[in-house]
């Protein structure tokens, strides 16, 4: 067992080196903007850039709409499948895994060809329509994560008993979903939401091909034209991802004892 522990430390140390060196290097690089001394100039330049603020704001908004759309689609479906249509579970699980199989670039290519200005459903004819299509595309990207999060949340509660108890007490479907089921899976839903946020905020492919002024294409543009700012942006993006994941962890501590505690 002693030897086992030694090798565990070796593996861990190698992994830590691989993961921390790029982060340290990026921090170091981002502070090299002023010649000879370390400074936060690159961050100042980036954060003061009007395009940074505009594109970041756009992507935050897109992420929020994506989360709302995702919850509206996933929560009723996952609940209903647990309660009434368990025979559909394999079908739905298969569909939610499709976005991991079909690359995002293929999905958005399909949108561009199917929902163009001359199509019966011309999403791409207007700005609002294109924005909606971007949110829809993001919702498909987030579908696997959102579904799994919600389904895991539902697994830890007894959906059938809770529903029957609520029905006996005279609750309608609206009350059951919003006041019984949702509070019990709220932590799971929020976990899915923050994960969605982390995925969507810097997404490049869909935003770029739909010509949206989002954060991802802005990042790419800065990367192609500047030296030190990209490193600063990478650190900012890492901090955002870290923030989302930390929020998920913190939330899980507040989860009701019955939910989300497999142990």
């Amino acid at each position: 067992m002693k030897a086992g522990r030694f090798w565990s430390w070796v593996v861990f140390a190698l992994g830590a080196a691989y993961f921390f060196i790029p982060l340290i290097a990026t921090v170091e690089f981002s502070m090299r903007m002023r010649r000879g001394v370390y400074s936060f100039d690159a961050y100042k330049v980036v954060l003061g850039d009007a395009r940074f603020q505009a594109t970041f704001g756009y992507s935050v908004l897109a992420a929020i709409f994506t989360i709302i759309l995702g919850v509206l689609i996933v929560v009723p479906a996952a609940y209903w499948i647990r309660l009434r249509l368990p025979q559909l579970r394999p079908v739905v699980e298969f569909i939610t895994l499709l976005p991991l199989v079909i690359p995002a670039i293929v999905i958005v290519f399909g949108y561009i060809r199917m929902y163009g200005s001359n199509s019966p459903l011309p999403f791409l004819a207007t700005d609002t329509g294109t924005n909606a299509l971007l949110v829809i595309g993001y919702a498909t990207l987030a579908l696997p994560y959102m579904y799994r999060a919600v389904d895991t949340g539902l697994r830890t509660i007894d959906v059938r008993t809770l529903t029957e108890a609520a029905q006996i007490l005279g609750a309608g479907w609206g009350t059951i979903i919003t006041r019984v089921i949702l509070p019990n899976v709220l932590i799971a839903v929020l976990s899915g939401a923050f994960l969605t946020f982390a995925i969507v905020i810097g997404e490049f492919t869909m935003a770029s091909l739909l010509n949206r002024p989002a954060f991802g294409p802005y990042l790419q543009n800065i990367g192609a034209n500047r030296a030190y700012e990209p490193a600063a942006l990478a650190i900012i993006a890492f901090a955002i991802t870290w923030g989302c994941m930390s929020l998920i962890q913190i939330l899980s501590r507040f989860a009701p004892k019955s939910a989300n505690r497999p142990n």
């Binding site: 565990s8 993961f19 009723p76 499709l98 079909i102 293929v106």
Partner: protein, 304 residues
């Protein structure tokens, strides 16, 4: 109006025989899942089918294999080949390294805080992909990156003189591994946790050595999740474009970048060839999944 029609329906429902009444109730059964299915069909399945059908049509809309045949031109074959190589290399390296780390933190007798810190970090790093990841690796292993410079000044090792380039196959693979390993860790740790202590004790009672325990208990149990994750990692790398695009521009000709250029500007001068490229991508990731399902059903037989 609605009230009236609803009550009418209720009355109508009462008068029909029980069998038909159940048929009438069917739509409400489906109501909960309807938004999901409408969404999935409209924005996931139909657009994909549209491209797949388009791959077999010419400009006049007639059925043809020409587009698929046109995929055989050297530049496109080369793009597919390098994409497959990068995806395979990064998913295999990521999978084995991720498995090693997962076993180390779960079963390796390391302090508890290492396990939770690693899992938290993995959650972050597995989602730290796309353009920022490319920036991070340019700052590390680019020509002026910290690691490049340090290796040169401390050890006199000029990796660029030895043929390394961040804008190359190995550069891209090394970068992809940064999100592949943590993804493996995140997915495989629960599977390793699922190994019951009793199994180890039972194996020990029956006189199994550590190696036998691993070979006959642990590996068969983890195998399906492991294989599934490898395929997930493969698809993950195969469809990724943002990292590669930000890292290499268009100097590394992988399939997603080729398709991206085709969508933006019809660089191949044949719209339907774009469909065929998309079709090829779906076939490859789809085939990977068929293998996964086949392996899983084979191994699940042993788990029962």
């Amino acid at each position: 109006m609605t009230d009236l029609s609803l009550s009418n329906q209720a009355i109508a429902g009462k008068t029909v025989p029980p069998g038909e009444a159940r048929a009438l109730r069917l739509p409400t059964q489906w109501l909960g899942v309807a938004p999901f299915f409408i969404f999935a069909i409209m924005f996931l399945i139909l657009p994909t089918l549209y491209l797949m059908l388009g791959a077999f049509q010419n400009d006049a809309g007639e059925f043809t294999f020409e587009n698929i045949a046109a995929l055989a031109q050297p530049s496109i074959v080369a793009a597919y080949w390098i994409s497959i190589k990068v995806s395979l290399a990064s998913s295999l390296i990521g999978a084995f390294a991720g498995l090693a780390i997962a076993i180390a933190i779960v079963r390796g007798g390391l302090p508890d805080w290492i396990r939770s810190a690693t899992l938290t970090f993995s959650g972050v790093a597995s989602n730290f992909a796309g353009v920022p990841l490319a920036f991070a690796f340019l700052a590390t292993l680019g020509r002026l990156g910290l690691a490049t410079v340090l290796l040169n000044t401390l050890f006199g090792l000029n990796i660029y003189a030895h043929g390394f380039n961040i804008l190359s196959f190995w550069g891209l693979t090394l970068t992809y591994v940064y999100f592949q390993i943590p993804l493996m860790v995140v997915i495989i740790v629960p599977a390793i946790d699922g190994l019951k202590k009793e199994w180890g004790e039972a194996a020990a009672t029956l006189g199994a050595t550590m190696a036998q325990y691993w070979r006959m208990v642990v590996i068969p149990v983890i195998w399906p999740s492991f294989l599934g994750t490898v395929i997930l990692l493969f698809a993950n790398a195969f469809g990724a474009i943002a990292t590669a695009y930000a890292l290499t521009g268009s100097s590394l000709n992988i399939v997603p970048i080729l398709l991206y250029a085709q969508i933006r500007g019809d660089v191949l001068h044949n719209a339907h060839l774009g469909y065929a490229i998309a079709f090829g991508m779906i076939v490859i990731t789809g085939l990977a999944n068929v293998f996964y399902i086949w392996f899983r059903t084979r191994s699940e037989r042993w788990l029962k």
